[in-house]
Each structure stands twice: as C-alpha cells, then as structure tokens.
C-alpha cells in the first residue's frame, strides 16, 4: 500500500508540474516547473527499482540540462517573444483533436492489453538497477551503444561550437 501512496504523490507532482510547464508563459517559471517535474520523475524511477537512473536523472537532467536552460533564459532576458496574433490559431483545434484522439487510443490499448500481470501486483525483481548491474549491462551487452552515445555527444559539441562561431562571425566579432 505504501508504494501506491508514494506513486500517487509522485504522479501528482509529475502531472501538475507538466501542466505548469506547458501553461506558464514566462520561460523562467516554466523551467522551474520542469525542475519539479524532473524530480518527480526521479521519484518514479526509484519506485521502478532503478536507483542509478534516478540519480542520473537528478544530476544530469535537473542539474545540468535545466541549468543550461536557465542560463539561456537569463541571457535572452525578458524579451517579449511573440508579437501580433497567432497566424496558426485556427489550427489549434486540430492540436486538441490529436491529443484527445491519442488519449482515447492509449486508454483503449492499455485497457485491452493481454500482457500477463500488467494490472496485477508486480513481480519481485533481482538487482537490475544498481550501478554495478548497469555497468555490467553496458560493458557486457551494449558496448556499441555506449560508444554510440559518445559519438552523439561529440557531434553535438562540434555542432554547438560551429553555431556559436557563426553567430560571433555574423556580429563581426563583437
């Protein structure tokens, strides 16, 4: 029972702060709401027996990624972003239709799933989420993926440097 109460609290945090992220128009407040959302997701990861992923979530996501967001928001300042009426306003009803349709579809898919034990109490698990298990899985079975992530990060870093360089050159080195 305790786990389900914990889940309810964390899930409420996730959904409430996610609503905040997409409704708050001030980017700074939206980013703070995103921090709450990411920390709640870390709680969910703890419930899912994945302590290592939960820690990485807190350090990398709620730490590094959101701080990067806050830096850029502070750099850009309180610029009034959108001016004038929304030229795509008449298509917004389509967005809501897509969301409602996908929601109904997901509800039906989950309700009709025949996966054994999907709605029952979960099975007990062995040690799958500790740093030792994750490290073993990475180095035993997923070495290629591990190297692939380093390649992705390298390409992203090169791309960021090129973007910044072009922007500086565009301002003639100011």
């Amino acid at each position: 029972m305790g786990e389900r109460i914990f889940f309810a609290i964390a899930a409420f945090g996730v959904i409430a702060s996610a609503v905040g992220v997409i409704t708050l128009r001030n980017p700074f407040r939206a980013a703070v709401a995103l921090i709450v959302s990411l920390l709640s997701v870390a709680l969910i990861f703890l419930l899912e027996r994945a302590p290592f992923v939960a820690m990485i979530q807190v350090i990398v996501y709620a730490g590094a990624v959101v701080v990067l967001f806050l830096f850029v928001i502070a750099y850009l300042g309180d610029k009034p972003p959108a001016v004038g009426p929304d030229p795509l306003a008449r298509y917004q009803v389509l967005a809501w239709l897509v969301i409602i349709g996908l929601g109904i579809e997901g509800f039906l898919a989950l309700g009709n799933s025949r996966l054994p034990g999907i709605r029952a109490n979960p099975f007990q698990v062995s040690d799958i989420g500790s740093p030792r298990a994750i490290g073993r899985a990475f180095l035993d079975s997923f070495v290629a993926e591990f190297e692939g992530t380093s390649l992705v990060l390298l390409v992203a870093a090169i791309g960021a440097v090129l973007l910044a360089r072009r922007a500086v050159l565009g301002e003639r080195g100011r």
Binding site: P87, V152, A156, G170
Partner: protein, 113 residues
C-alpha cells in the same frame, strides 16, 4: 539470477505496470500538447523534455516488468540524446536571437528567409 524462482511469485503490494504506462502516456500527451500550441522555441524545448521523460518512465517500467536492465540502459541513452538535443536547440535559439529576430517559431517558417 532469480528469474525462474520469482516468475510466479507476486509481491504483497506494489504498483502495477499499467499505472506507470498510464502516467507515461499522460505526461507524453501533455508534452505533445505543449509542442503543438506554444510559439516560443524555449517553451517548445521544455515540452520536448517532458515527452522524452515520459518515454523514460515507460522504458524503466518495462525494465522492471521483464526483470532486465535493458530498459534502463535505453533510458540512459535517451538522456544522452536529450542532452545533445538541448545543446543544439539552445544554440539555434541563441543564434536566432543574435540575428535580432523575434522568438516565434511561426515567424521562422522559411529557410533562407
């Protein structure tokens, strides 16, 4: 591993997989809604982060369901991709801002505009 002995043994109480999947789906739809209705590219990127996190909840949930680490590995790879995406996305936003253009994705609909 204890998979064989545990496969028929349920825990006393716990959270079923379907609850995690429902939460994941709801969070994903909220992120998608944010991507569809927002105009500020910063808020768009925040909404994309919501969608990526929603997928991670489902991945780690299935990892627990099947009692293997694979889903968690996948979630970590998704985090790497998310970090790369944020770096490039924010770099683009700063580049757009330096060109003194409005931060509105609808106004940036033309290449070479």
């Amino acid at each position: 591993m204890l998979i064989g002995t545990l496969s028929t043994h349920h825990q006393a109480t716990g959270v079923p997989l379907s609850w995690y999947l429902a939460l994941s789906g709801a969070m994903f739809l909220l992120g998608l809604l944010g991507v569809l209705i927002r105009r500020n590219p910063l808020l768009l990127l925040l909404a994309v982060e919501l969608m990526l996190n929603a997928s991670n909840i489902a991945l780690v949930g299935f990892s627990r369901y099947w009692n293997v680490s694979d889903g968690q590995i996948f979630a970590l790879v998704v985090m790497v991709v998310a970090a790369a995406e944020v770096v490039i996305g924010l770099g683009l936003i700063v580049a757009v801002y330096r060109q003194r253009l409005a931060l509105d994705v609808d106004a940036l609909s033309r290449l070479k505009g």
